[in-house]
Amino acid sequence: MGTITGRRAAYERARKRRSTVVATVSSLAVVTAIVVLVPKMPRWDRVHESFFNGERFANSLPRLLDAFVLDIKIFAWSMPAIVALALLVAITRNSRSAALFPLRILTIAYTDIMRGVPIILWIYLIGFGVPGLGIDRPWNSPLIWGSVALVLTYASYIAEVFRAGIESVHESQRAAARSLGLSSWQTMRHVVLPQAIRRVIPPLMNDMVSLQKDVALVSLIGPIEILRQAGIDKSKFANFTPYIAAAAVFLLITIPLTRTTDWLIERERRRTTGTRIS
């Protein structure tokens, strides 16, 4: 974009210096306040013992990390399925051809019903109910059907996010693409979808972070993942620190992911756009 020179450069530099100082001072003040004032509160010892117990933390952590592998696995195989199903539903819902009318009705029913019932209910209904119909091991595994419940539920929410993205792409983009001889599907694939998806990455990320935690719901139907393990430790040692440890493990994964996504979006934005109004 070119370097800033002259009188604006000096002004910008001074302004930047000032804001760095203000940011540093205010951050230090907040951190100091927390570190100094919180321990002075009347029942801090009890809270410290119950929630921030170093020994319990160290003792539980290996078990929690081991259990967390299951959460990661569930997320890893559910995510792609959710995105694929959601895209399929959104595109079908958005289609204009008369032949696909019954499919469109189906997608509306699907999103209404899946979103209308709490996820926990779906986990029980699908996780216990479907295998209960008489499927044999290993195909009746709660991991499979619990994941199916997660995928069906989350895809219904994310389909609506994609749909909003697709509908936000102006009709004129379709007009231009079709005028170039591109088919309906080519238009969707090369022109509409790329724009639609870029636009809905923030809400998509939201749902993704949500999923990273909702994978824990599979514990309701048996598998011992991190939250269940933390609960078992909590019951056994009558201490809540295992939950704090589990929270720490979750944050360790979710924060880098969201920061990376933001960075990717920002990089894309810098690449494709011109000026930015301050």
């Binding site: 119950s50 029980y124 216990f128 295998p131 209960g132 499927i135 044999d136 091991r137 009746n140 595994s141 709660p142 514990s219 309701l220 139907i221 048996g222 598998p223 011992i224 269940r228 609960g231 078992i232 019951s235 056994k236 040692f237 009558a238």
Partner: protein, 289 residues
């Protein structure tokens, strides 16, 4: 006119005092509805003149029948009322509250005087709550459906490849992990209902629960289920002795222990056991070593 009023008032007060006086004697037989505790319990209960007892939501058979502890039917319901009577509380002075299994043994103020839900006495729980003396002891047992690989097991080795399930936070789950040590990690559920659903869906091969519950599940709740066997009390480091759960260092504990001792000596506890759990102790023993 005023004289009449005064004398009526005095007579009324005397009558009330007489009535109140007679029921606060140390008569410990449960005159239904009349008792409100004895000298030991005075001032130690949550609410004066009331015994607040906690149990599960729902409360399962054979511990409480029909989820109605007030009916006094079911082993634990019967024990609770027997203890209450021994402490001088009439039936009308007993109040029930429901709690989750887990929350009753967590630290913090309780909304009950004591709670009974098949809580096993162990050292870890003793750090946060107090227990009475044991009112019942039992063994861990295995329940499975016909056709399960667990059927016919006579030693722990026979159970190594079995997929187990149990309620999270219980000694049953710990028993699986520490004693049976199967090759596949067990599944854990919020309650036994989840474990039963998983058993029926064949997601697990067997459930571990205490013996009376095992019999109830096999006989009543699940068709085609049977008790595979029970483990000897020596198998686990902390055999299952059920105790009543109290607030930590609650002074009421000693009163209740006295009552329990009296009930044991009089044979009342054994009689209650015979009524509600009698035929539920014959299961083959699964050897541990």
């Amino acid at each position: 006119m005023r004289k009449l009023t005064i004398s009526l008032a005095v007579t009324g007060t005397l009558l009330l005092a007489a009535c109140g006086g007679s029921s606060s004697s140390s008569d410990t037989t449960a005159a239904a509805g009349a008792g409100t505790g004895n000298e030991c319990t005075a001032g130690k209960t949550l609410t004066a003149d009331t015994l607040t007892i906690g149990t599960g939501n729902p409360a399962y058979s054979p511990w409480v029948e029909n989820d109605k502890p007030e009916s006094k039917e079911g082993f634990e319901a019967a024990v609770a009322y027997a203890v209450a009577a021994e402490l001088g509380f009439g039936d009308a002075a007993v109040k029930w509250v429901r709690t989750g299994f887990d929350e009753a043994v967590q630290p913090g103020k309780k909304n009950f005087d004591f709670n009974l839900q098949q809580f096993s006495i162990n050292d870890e729980r003793k750090k946060t709550v107090s227990f009475s003396a044991s009112y019942y002891s039992t063994n861990q047992a295995v329940v499975a459906l016909a056709g399960s690989p667990a059927i016919g097991a006579t030693t722990v080795a026979d159970l190594k490849d079995v997929k187990f399930g149990a309620q999270a936070g219980t000694t049953s789950l710990e028993f699986i992990t520490n004693v049976i040590k199967p090759t596949a990690e067990p599944f854990a559920y919020d309650d036994n209902a989840g474990a039963k659903a998983a058993l029926e869906a064949k997601q697990i091969d067997a459930i571990v629960v205490d013996l009376p519950t095992a019999f109830y599940i096999a006989a009543v709740e699940l068709t085609g289920a049977s008790v595979v066997g029970q483990f000897p009390a020596s198998a686990s480091t902390t055999p299952d002795n059920f105790g009543l759960v109290f607030d930590l260092d609650n002074p009421l504990v000693s009163c209740v222990d006295t009552a329990l001792a009296a009930l044991k000596d009089a044979g009342t506890l054994a009689a209650i056991e015979k009524t509600w759990l009698s035929d539920k102790t014959n299961a083959p023993v699964i050897a541990v070593s």
